[in-house]
Symmetry: C2
Subunit: 419 residues, 2 copies
């Protein structure tokens, strides 16, 4: 019997009425013949309530105790959904992270999953019992303490469990009905993708399309878990539809996409990230160790650096440009000003009002000239490019924030993504 993982977030389980709707979704899949594991988040607002109490108790708190408090939210939902399913005549039981167990490291508050023993789960699922799993949580086995995976960790729980039990698919029910070629609020003609490759989704997710946590996509890619993003507003009592029929986006291996279409699309989507700020240091001596001298102090200050551009040097000096989250902009400049003696640059410049636009597509690998087309189209609209970085499957361009919509729409049309 094929196994299926279904994941529902906090708004989908915010009230008992909504939990009943979730149960009807589950019932439909059980009726279709699946052995089902459901992963649930805490009821909407509950995690904030718990975190609020922890912060009220102490600004600086033991992350182990934070986890013990916060993990209770998902515990409640898993029990309530199990009861609701049973009440609908469906055999079900709740599983807490430590009961499975989902073993994690001891990075409390943002633990990483080390291993999941799926034996107990699959034994019970084979007896037609739906496994209702508390998302977001695990256990650090050596200490026996509860851990949490960090915000949005329930997506990661769902994908990891799908991998552990060899599920045919992991369905993520969200408040959007899939992944779009770009943000429909910016480009009304954006269209939903039926399929997207893991690598592309990773770029889309990390570049600002906030459908799935980056970590869960990484995990899905590594373990080849077919992950289907679909709407929690679907009619739960409608006839059963799989990933091929239902509205949604299947995140899957490149080969599954190529196998289904004569010619693959070169570009899959256009992503953009507004909360980046640009920092440039001019006339740095181009010598070994200089990158370490620049980025070491930023790492020490726990500032995440994103785009990094360093051109070949002229006369032994070079310029380095990179982006940081807008929230860390001032701290980044401070850190570099303090390290000026060690780095030895001439000027430090920055610009908070920038946006990074990215063109993403696995098809780029086999198509030349994709980047050149983009630069030409943007130039034709009078959009100045501040910096460029590229990888095999994406081109990222830093521009002034004022041009965001124009740039995204231009590129969306250029690559034939308009519906």
């Amino acid at each position: 019997m094929a196994r299926l993982v279904m994941k529902f977030g906090g708004t989908s389980v915010a009230t008992i009425d909504r939990i009943r709707t979730v149960a009807r979704h589950v019932k439909r899949e059980v009726a279709a013949g699946y052995e089902v594991a459901v992963v649930v988040s805490a009821m909407s607002g509950k995690t904030n309530e718990l975190v609020g109490w922890v912060r009220e108790a102490a600004t600086l708190h033991d992350a182990r105790e934070y986890d013990a408090v916060v993990a209770s939210g998902e515990q409640v939902t898993s029990g309530l959904l199990a009861i609701t399913l049973q009440n609908m005549g469906i055999s079900a039981r709740s599983w807490l992270g430590w009961q499975i167990p989902i073993a994690t490291d001891d990075a409390h508050g943002s633990a990483r999953i080390l291993s999941i023993d799926g034996t107990a789960l699959t034994d019970r699922m084979a007896q037609s019992e739906v496994a209702v799993i508390a998302g977001f949580q695990g256990i650090h086995l050596p200490s026996g303490r509860l851990t949490t995976l960090g915000r949005g960790g329930s997506d990661t729980s769902a994908v990891a469990i799908a991998a552990a039990i060899g599920a045919e698919r992991c369905d993520i029910y969200t408040d959007v009905d899939g992944v779009y070629t770009t943000d429909p609020r910016v480009v009304p003609r954006a269209r939903r993708l039926d399929k997207i490759a893991f690598e592309e989704m990773l770029e889309m997710a990390s570049l600002g399309a906030k459908v799935l946590q980056v970590r869960s996509v990484e995990l899905a890619m590594v373990h080849q878990v077919r992950t289907f993003v679909r709407s929690s507003f679907e009619d739960p009592d409608a006839p059963h539809m799989g990933a091929a029929e239902a509205a949604g986006t299947l995140i899957c291996d490149e080969e599954e996409i190529v196998a289904n279409q004569m010619e693959s699309q070169v570009v899959t989507g256009i992503a953009f990230a507004r909360d980046e700020a640009q920092v440039s240091i001019r006339r740095v001596a181009d010598k070994p160790g200089i990158a370490a001298a620049v980025f070491g102090p930023l790492a020490d200050a726990h500032i995440n650096v994103d785009m990094i551009v360093q051109n070949v040097s002229a006369d032994g000096f070079t310029d380095i440009t990179f982006t940081v989250p807008t929230a860390d902009f001032e701290r980044a400049k401070d850190a570099l000003a303090k390290a000026r003696g060690a780095i030895g640059y001439e000027t430090l410049e920055g610009e908070a009002d920038v946006v990074k636009v990215s063109v993403i597509g696995i098809g780029m690998r086999s198509h030349a000239g994709v980047a050149a087309e983009a630069f030409k189209a943007l130039a034709a609209k009078g959009i100045n490019i501040r910096a460029i970085t590229t990888s095999e499957i994406k081109i990222s361009i830093l521009i002034d924030a004022a041009y965001t919509e124009l740039a995204v729409r231009t590129l969306h049309s250029l690559y034939g993504l308009d519906s």
Copy 2:
């Protein structure tokens, strides 16, 4: 180093501010040199919220899932108190029932504690780490499922842990400052008892003095856990006071009481229970098996029978009188009416408007005439006695409810309990 268990109920931990007050109580005991374990209930109102959701999800629900949901309340409080203690510079960690573990049977919703392994607790307490224990919960080890001990189970948790770790004392912080000779609302001259024997407290608790759960007193008696009922409104920053100095009532072994006073009091307290109803069946054939014929149908209907009075027979027939909770009165009469053929009685009578007044005292065992004095005093006030039962340390009298206050005050004075 002497170990101490402290227990705080839901109102004492209802807000972070109150949890801070609890932490100051703990700090005082740590400063006095104790190795401390604190047992906490869920924040006031939280258990009701959780139970409400369970009931909304399904009227009939899996008790295992009920336990998984409801046990989360104490989990939250234990984490929050641990954080608060740490923030005050006191080493502390939270312990969930399954982490200790507190092993119970699988009677979910009202599980009984089978054993507690105190090793991990005492190891950590010996390193000056306060153990903050989620009350009310345990684990059924064979299945690995969470269990709860039933309402008020945190008292039981506290006493059981005190027994397991060999604590010098178990301090129960409540909204009253101890156990009184009777209900002060009925007898303003009632006074707080400094000490009461386990057996007496058991009678007081089960007869309506709602300070401590009966189960926790039973456990304290079996394991000889000195249990001190004291007020949670004590000033937490006042100088340290033990059971001898602080306002409160120590529940302890009879010998500890006798050792401290030249002559023991004959009567310790007067308890009364208003929610009882009287049922009498007249002219039952006095033959073997008749009691089973009467009480079998009541047991089948899950009706708890309290006082049972059966007199010696005259002419081969007898009358049987007993009491049931008022809420079960009509059901009890129905059950007996249906069983009339099997029992073979002449008439079935009942009276809901009765009260059971009990005189309790270990001293009765060595003093004759205690009961006779009571009957005489009540008769002098014109109070009619409906039924009487006695045990070694108590006399229970069933009277019309209208005479409750008069009877209690009369007996309270009679035995020299007025302050």
